[in-house]
């Protein structure tokens, strides 16, 4: 279905009397922009690869970090990210259907599928907002060890944890420990032998007990440690805590790089999705007003479609290099 040189209007021929690419100027420039934008994302993922390879500290792995689903207890490794990928693929499909409808000059079809694409874009942005929120809040937080400790996990395996290693608390106890770490005068620590608890006074006074701690939470071989062994870890804690992640602090690893890359790569991609949705809305309104009908072709839908598919294309790579590998 390649363009036919003989039928090209003379105004758009190049100096040599040919149209080498046989596409309109606008579409070619969109492609050139997408190539350069791909280099930006490629640069980010390359930087991620280098940082990961040269990191002194353990690097968190995707299926351990991203395993929560909204409103559900339990662990579902990578299911949420897969769902986001699926949403983006489906919105790419509705976009290509809008382009196809445009080729038939079917205005109603363009509006229907472009509208669906915009809805899909908002769904993706919403899912990303939840993922960010979950990543920022964390799930219980952890503390660093002040000295080397040897403990026996619940499965009977012995671990020697170096100084500075992160040990993780459950959500309930972690929330109380966060108040304690903040120096909240209403949070009081009780320690009687093997029985550790934190009481928070105030309007909703409650006590959180230390039942178990988690080691290797975001790397391979995650284990629960409970009873006297957990108390041993608790007593070896330093005053360095981490709850969730932000630009200065991260519970996911001793280094900050992983969290920074998460924010930057998914944030940069999310910004692309956001601008894509805005562009799609503009094109939707133009189609609604009959601009393209008047023009006689829907190539503008095709050009924005290229941008939208590119956003999906980038996500495919982010999914592999950031979440899977």
């Amino acid at each position: 279905m390649a363009g036919n040189t003989e039928t090209i209007p003379t105004e758009v021929l190049w100096g040599g009397g040919q149209s080498p690419f046989s596409v309109t100027y606008g579409k070619m420039m969109m492609w050139f922009f997408l190539v350069s934008d791909a280099l930006t994302f490629g640069g980010l993922l390359t930087a991620y690869g280098f940082s990961r390879a040269t990191s002194e500290d353990a690097w968190p792995i995707g299926e351990q970090v991203f395993r929560a689903l909204p409103g559900l207890e339990g662990q579902y490794p990578l299911i949420y990210v897969a769902l986001m990928t699926f949403i983006l693929i489906v919105s790419s499909v509705t976009m290509v259907l809008a382009v196809e409808a445009g080729h038939r000059n079917d205005k109603a079809g363009v509006l229907k599928w472009l509208g669906a694409t915009i809805v899909g874009g908002f769904f993706f942005l919403g899912s990303q907002a939840w993922e960010w929120s979950h990543f920022i809040h964390g799930s219980g937080g952890g503390f660093q060890l002040a000295k080397e400790v040897t403990v026996t996990a619940d499965n009977g395996e012995a671990f020697t944890l170096p100084k500075g290693e992160l040990v993780f608390m459950d959500h309930h106890f972690g929330d109380a420990a966060a108040a304690l770490a903040d120096g909240d005068p209403n949070a009081v620590l009780h320690a009687e032998g093997d029985h550790i608890s934190i009481t928070q006074f105030g309007d909703h006074a409650h006590t959180a007990e230390l039942h178990s701690l988690t080691i290797n939470k975001y790397v391979e071989n995650e284990q629960e440690v409970s009873g006297a062994e957990a108390v041993k870890l608790w007593n070896a804690r330093s005053d360095v805590y981490a709850f969730g992640a932000n630009l200065e602090d991260s519970e996911y690893a001793a280094q900050q790089t992983y969290a920074n890359f998460f924010f930057f790569i998914t944030g940069f991609h999310g910004f692309h999705v956001f601008s894509g949705v805005v562009i799609n809305i503009i094109i939707f309104l133009m189609a609604l007003n009959g601009v393209f009908e008047h023009r006689g072709h829907y190539e503008m839908v095709e050009k924005t479609g290229l941008y939208w598919h590119f956003v999906d294309l980038v996500w495919v790579f982010v999914f592999t290099f950031f979440y899977l590998i």
């Binding site: 390649a2 105004e11 309109t24 499909v93 598919h309 590998i325």
Partner: protein
């Protein structure tokens, strides 16, 4: 000079217009690619959950499988969804050459440098 985004002649832009019958075939292809991309993603997630990273050899094979599957997905998106497969060969080459070069580099960084790190990690720990 006239605006060249005003398509005077249907033959100018690739597939600027097609008939209802052609549309049916195109839509069929689109749904086929959709199902394929979804299946590949599901397989990738299942592999990531099922296989353990501590088994170095298996994990290397898994990593390569991920990369191959990703490239398959990328190829379908670019060639079918973005219609690059239907463009002129000149256009295809001008767009694909930088992509292919850079993706090769990216894979080299992710795999080779990653292995280098794994080696030094196992040597010094």
């Amino acid at each position: 000079m006239e605006r060249d985004d005003l398509i005077v002649n249907d033959g100018y832009a690739m597939a600027a217009h097609h008939s209802e019958e052609a549309g049916v075939a195109i839509r069929k292809k689109i749904w086929f690619v959709t199902v394929l991309l979804t299946l590949i993603t599901a397989v990738e997630v299942a592999m990531g959950v099922y296989f353990k990273r501590s088994e170095a050899f298996t994990w290397t094979a898994i990593k390569w499988t991920f990369i191959v599957l990703t490239l398959v997905k990328a190829a379908y998106i670019v060639l079918v969804f973005m219609h690059l497969g239907d463009e002129r060969s000149n256009m295809k080459k001008a767009i694909m050459a930088p992509y292919i070069l850079f993706i090769g580099y990216l894979i080299f960084i992710a795999i080779t440098e990653g292995f280098g790190h794994l080696e030094s990690f196992t040597t010094f720990h």
